[in-house]
Symmetry: C2
Subunit: 330 residues, 2 copies
């Protein structure tokens, strides 16, 4: 069977370019005993993938040059020689960046397409949603009534984090990169929202007293949050997208000494050390989504040949909510 | 009775200058009922005082211009109309920066000059010692066998922090600002010590894997520690002396994204929220000092007229161990 897959062919310097990737046609063999064939319907592009495109030592192995990349995807079983999977089943796997995947079942999980659209397994009910949940509740130790600042608040993680904070009766401030994004997070109930291309985070946070900062951006956002933090504020360091494609060091934050004088706690985390919270998360979040207490948006790019472009678009902020690539849009 | 006191007369811009202070002669009245007169023998200069010389909003009120400053001091009661204090008693108070203090007893605490030299109440058995103890054990959650980096390791806090870590069977690396200081901390048992004027922290930490960073310096030291940190390392943010007199932003740390990928915890603290640990601290530390398991040094400047110079010298790293001003050296 023919399939196409995306390979990394050169390690990006700064912002990735389409030439750093190639889309190759491959033959996929019939499943052997214990194997399954999956036709992916949707694949995820996520900011963390930028780290794997570099060969700097990090928490996970880099993508190999010339090999297909991988990441979250949902699709349907098209052939199965595994007991627990049947043709037609919707499944989640880490076998993204390809149209058809052959698997021995490792990391393949059935999803209930009747309970929620399968795409949500890559977003609000998947890894980005869990990241927001664990980050805010466990790492940030969110308390009712806190003032919370979420940067990158129109993204897949930030938009959920902000809504959880609203559910917990917090005052929530969000930053985003366009007027349209700002309008959306206002619609979600954020108490204050600003376009950081128009208003600096420092200006936008003037007069605010933050209990929690949920950081997806770093840089000037982090500096502004240090300035606006209350004594004993908690900083949830989820990501620093402003740095992922930077080729030069930046002279910020310049007010690091406030960590001492305000007795701040700055805590980095990676969601994959928190999968033990998946059950609690899924129970709470699927309820909130069903009752429309947490809402989500998805931005689609069609065709695997456009997956590199979708990833670059994610880095450039083209998405509102979760960025997804539809692999069988025709 | 005549006394002299040191007043702040202008708020320093950058490094304080002697002209920012004045030494004034004053008359001290006889103690009223319930009051006590103390002749200070030693006063402390501490890095935290730099913050109070500025009028930026901070955790404590700034020193008032034209008023005497205050801070830790030890002295002897020379007249008492308080029940619990007698002439000749050694006492600790916050009434430093003056030769003779009149007090209603608030914050005045008797010290046992037979058990330990009174100067230790300002250093290893006082606030700097407690800072090291709480910072390393409570904030840093030190574990036996950890690799610990202490910056400013020849100072009153750093030298104690490093020795506590050695007592807990840790590998300890220390930075200091001169060859003499490096020689001293090597003598104290540090496994590695370097002069940061000769070797950059980044170079000195090459190949090290830190569990705990006890930060007294910030800036390039913090950047280097981020680079050398293990996953889940704890950063004890005790001070950032490199920043206290800075007038320009500095371009470090430039690797803040490592907080996320290494899941670091960066925790600022101020010792005065941890006085509930004073009893445990005093029990442990007085034992360690008695058994010479923790050693200390003191650097003296003589005469209250030289107290501003002593403070400036502290900022410039003139001291080994605790910096003290002897008020009755004659």
């Amino acid at each position: 069977m023919k399939s196409r897959e995306v390979r990394l062919v050169s390690r990006p310097q700064g912002m990735p370019r389409e030439e750093d990737f190639e889309v190759a046609e491959v033959d996929v063999a019939e499943p052997a005993d214990g194997e399954v064939l999956i036709r992916n319907e949707l694949m995820s592009v996520d900011p963390y993938m930028r780290g794997r495109m570099s060969d700097a030592k990090s928490y996970s192995a880099p993508f190999e040059l010339g090999e297909p990349m991988h990441g979250g995807a949902v699709g349907r079983v098209i052939a199965s020689r595994r007991e627990e999977l049947e043709e037609g089943d919707w499944v989640f796997s880490q076998l993204g960046w390809r149209e058809v995947a052959r698997s021995d079942g490792e990391g393949v999980r059935k999803i209930d397409a009747d309970a929620a659209p399968p795409s949500t397994a890559l977003g609000v009910l998947g890894m980005p949603g869990l990241t927001a949940y664990v980050g805010l509740l466990d790492i940030g130790e969110l308390q009712e009534g806190d003032t919370v600042f979420v940067s990158g608040a129109a993204g897949a993680v930030g938009s959920v984090a902000g809504q959880i904070a609203k559910l917990k009766r917090c005052r929530v401030i969000g930053s985003a990169g366009s007027a349209e994004k700002v309008a959306w997070i206002e619609e979600l109930g954020f108490d204050k929202a600003f376009d950081y291309h128009e208003t600096s985070p420092r200006e936008a946070l003037r007069g605010e007293k933050l209990d929690v900062y949920f950081d997806n951006v770093g840089g000037d956002h982090l500096e502004a949050a240090l300035g606006a933090a209350k004594t004993h504020a908690r900083f949830v360091e989820c990501g620093m997208i402003s740095r992922y494609n930077a080729t030069e060091p930046e002279p910020a934050p310049r007010n690091m000494q406030l960590i001492v004088t305000k007795q701040l706690r700055i805590q980095g985390f990676l969601v994959f050390e928190h999968f033990h919270r998946s059950r609690d998360f899924f129970r709470d979040m699927s309820g909130w989504v069903r009752e429309a207490k947490v809402r989500y948006r998805e931005t689609y790019v069609d065709g695997i040949e456009n997956a590199p472009r979708a990833f670059i678009g994610l880095m450039e902020g083209d998405n509102i909510g979760k960025m997804l690539v539809r692999l069988n849009a025709s």
